[in-house]
C-alpha cells in the first residue's frame, strides 16, 4: 500500500516541479487565480444588475414577484448540502479514505443534478409565461403595477444571463466531479496526491458562493412576494 502510494505520487509528479509539495501548491494557487477571473466574469453582470436595479427598481420588484421563492430557497439549501458533501469528500481524499470519497462525491453530483432539475422547472415556468427576453416577451402584470414592461424585460435579461451562466458552471462542475469520481475509482488519488480533488472542490464551492448572492438579489428584492 505504502509503496504503491509513492509510485502513484512519483508518477504524478511532473518533470518541471521539484517536489509534490511545490506541484500541489502551484496547482491550488492556479485554481484560486482562476476563481479570481471567475469573480470578475460574474462581476460584469453584477455591475449591470446594480446599475439597472438602481434605475428601474419598481420594475425589478415586479419581475422578482414571478420568482418562486420556495424553489429558490430549496435550491440554496441543496447547494449548501452539496458543498458540505464536497468538503467532506475532499477531507476523505486528504485522509486517504478513497471509497468514502467516491461515495461523497457521487452524492455531491446528485445534489448538483437536483439543483439543475429544480432550476429547469423554474425555467420552464418562465418560458411558458413568456418571461424570456426577446420578441416573445410578455409581462401583462406590468400595466396594473404601473411599470414599463421593457424595464421588467431587463430584469429578466439579467435573471436569465446570471442564472444561466451559473447553471452552465453547475453543469461543468458536475462533469468535473464525474471525472474525479472516475479517476478516483481507478485509484489515482491518495493522501499524497489529491490536488485535482481539492481544486474541483474549490470550483464547486465557488459556484455555490455565486448562488448565495444570486438568490437574495434576484428572488428577495422586495417583501411583496406573490403566491
Amino acid at each position: 500500500m505504502a509503496t504503491s502510494d509513492i509510485e502513484i505520487a512519483e508518477h504524478a509528479l511532473q518533470h518541471h516541479f521539484a517536489s509534490m509539495d511545490q506541484q500541489r501548491e502551484t496547482a491550488t494557487f492556479g485554481m484560486w487565480l482562476f476563481l479570481v477571473t471567475e469573480i470578475m466574469f460574474f462581476g460584469g453582470l453584477f455591475c449591470a444588475y446594480l446599475v439597472y436595479r438602481a434605475t428601474y427598481y419598481e420594475a425589478f420588484v415586479e419581475g422578482s414577484q414571478t420568482m418562486n421563492i420556495w424553489l429558490g430557497a430549496t435550491n440554496t439549501a441543496v447547494l449548501i448540502c452539496s458543498s458540505l458533501t464536497m468538503a467532506l469528500g475532499v477531507r476523505c481524499a486528504q485522509t486517504d479514505k478513497r471509497k468514502m470519497m467516491i461515495v461523497l462525491l457521487i452524492i455531491t453530483m446528485l445534489f448538483g443534478l437536483a439543483f439543475l432539475g429544480i432550476k429547469a422547472v423554474e425555467y420552464h415556468e418562465h418560458w411558458t409565461n413568456h418571461q424570456f427576453p426577446g420578441s416573445n416577451f410578455q409581462f401583462p402584470e406590468a400595466e396594473a403595477a404601473g411599470v414599463n414592461p421593457q424595464n421588467v424585460q431587463i430584469y429578466f435579461s439579467l435573471y436569465w444571463a446570471m442564472t444561466g451562466l451559473h447553471a452552465l458552471h453547475m453543469v461543468i462542475g458536475v462533469a468535473l466531479v464525474a471525472w474525479i469520481v472516475i479517476a478516483g475509482a481507478r485509484g489515482l488519488y491518495s493522501a499524497d496526491y489529491y490536488a485535482p480533488v481539492e481544486n474541483v472542490g474549490l470550483y464547486w464551492h465557488f459556484v455555490d458562493l455565486v448562488w448565495i448572492y444570486l438568490f437574495p438579489l434576484l428572488y428577495l428584492i422586495s417583501k411583496k412576494h406573490g403566491g
Binding site: 428601474y56 419598481e58 404601473g146 411599470v147 414599463n148 424595464n151
Partner: protein
Amino acid sequence: MWKNLPLFPEQASSLAAQVDGLYFFLVAVSAFFTLLIFVLVFVFAVKYRKSAHPKAEHIEGSLPLELTWTLIPLGITMIFFAWGALIYFQEARPPRGAMEVYAVGKQWMWKFEHETGQREINALHVPVNRDIKMIMSSQDVIHSFFVPAFRIKADVLPGRYTSTWFHPTKTGTYHLFCAEYCGTEHSGMIGEVVVMEPAAYQAWLANGGATGTMAANGKELFTQLGCATCHRLDTQGRGPNLMGLFGKSVQLEDGRTVRADENYIRESILNPQAKIVAGFKPIMPTFQGQVTEESLGALVSYVKSLSQPQQKAEGGAPQPAAANESN
C-alpha cells in the same frame, strides 16, 4: 496662417481661447520634458559610449532623485487637473438665458430646430455674441456634436438629452462634425455652423418659413395628445400641474427628490412610471412610439415655456406666484 496648410484651428468662441491656453501650457510642459529626455539620452549615449567610457560606474539609485521625479510631475499634473476641471465645469453649465436650439442626430444627418420654429438640416445658423445652448438627442445610434472652432464636443445619445453650449465670438462658417463613429456615412454626417451678425440672423429667421414657435407647436401637441385633460393648469388635475415646473425640484412618491430638467420631462413623457410625483397615482400611459424626437422637443419646449415669465409663456395663464402643486 498658410492658406493650404493651416496648422491651428480658428478660435471662434469664448471657450476656444481658454482651451487653447491650457493646450499651450500642456504643449510647453510636454516639450520641456520631451526635450529634457531627448537631450539627456543623447548626451549620455554619446558621452558614455563604449569607446569613450569603457567601464561603467556602479550606481545603485537615489531616493532623493526618485522622490524628485515622482513629486514634481505629480505637482505639475495637479495643475493640469485643476485647470482642465475649471474649463470642463464651464462647458458643463450652460449660462442662464441662453438661446436654445434642439438638435436631433440620425444616421447620417443633423436636424436642428430653433425655439422660434425654424428647422434646418446639416446647417445651424446662430447669432454672434449670444450664448447658445444645444439640447440634443439621437434617433438611432450615438453621434457626437463637434465644432472644432468652438472647442466643444458632446455625444448625442439615443433615449436621453445631452447638452452643450457655446458663445460664438466671430462671424463666419465653421465645420460641424459627427465625432462618434455612427456607421456607413459617418464621415458624411457633417455640416456647418453659420455665425451671423444679429441683424443678419433676424433676417434669416424671417425667411425661415417657421410654422409657429416650438412652444406653440408643443402646446398644440399637448392638447392633441390629450395631455391637457389631466395636466390642468389649476389644482384639480389628475396629473401634476406643469405651470412653473421646469427648473424646480420635485418631491417623488418614493421619497426621492429630482430636479425638473429636460431629461426629467422627457422621461416623464416616455416612461411616466419611472418617477411618480408625490401625491399622484401611476396612471399616465407611456407615449413611447407615439411621439417623434421632434414632437418631444416641442413638448419639452412648451413645458419649459410655462416656467418663463411674460413673453414666452404660451399657456396664456398668469404665472403662478406660489410653487407648483406637486411640490
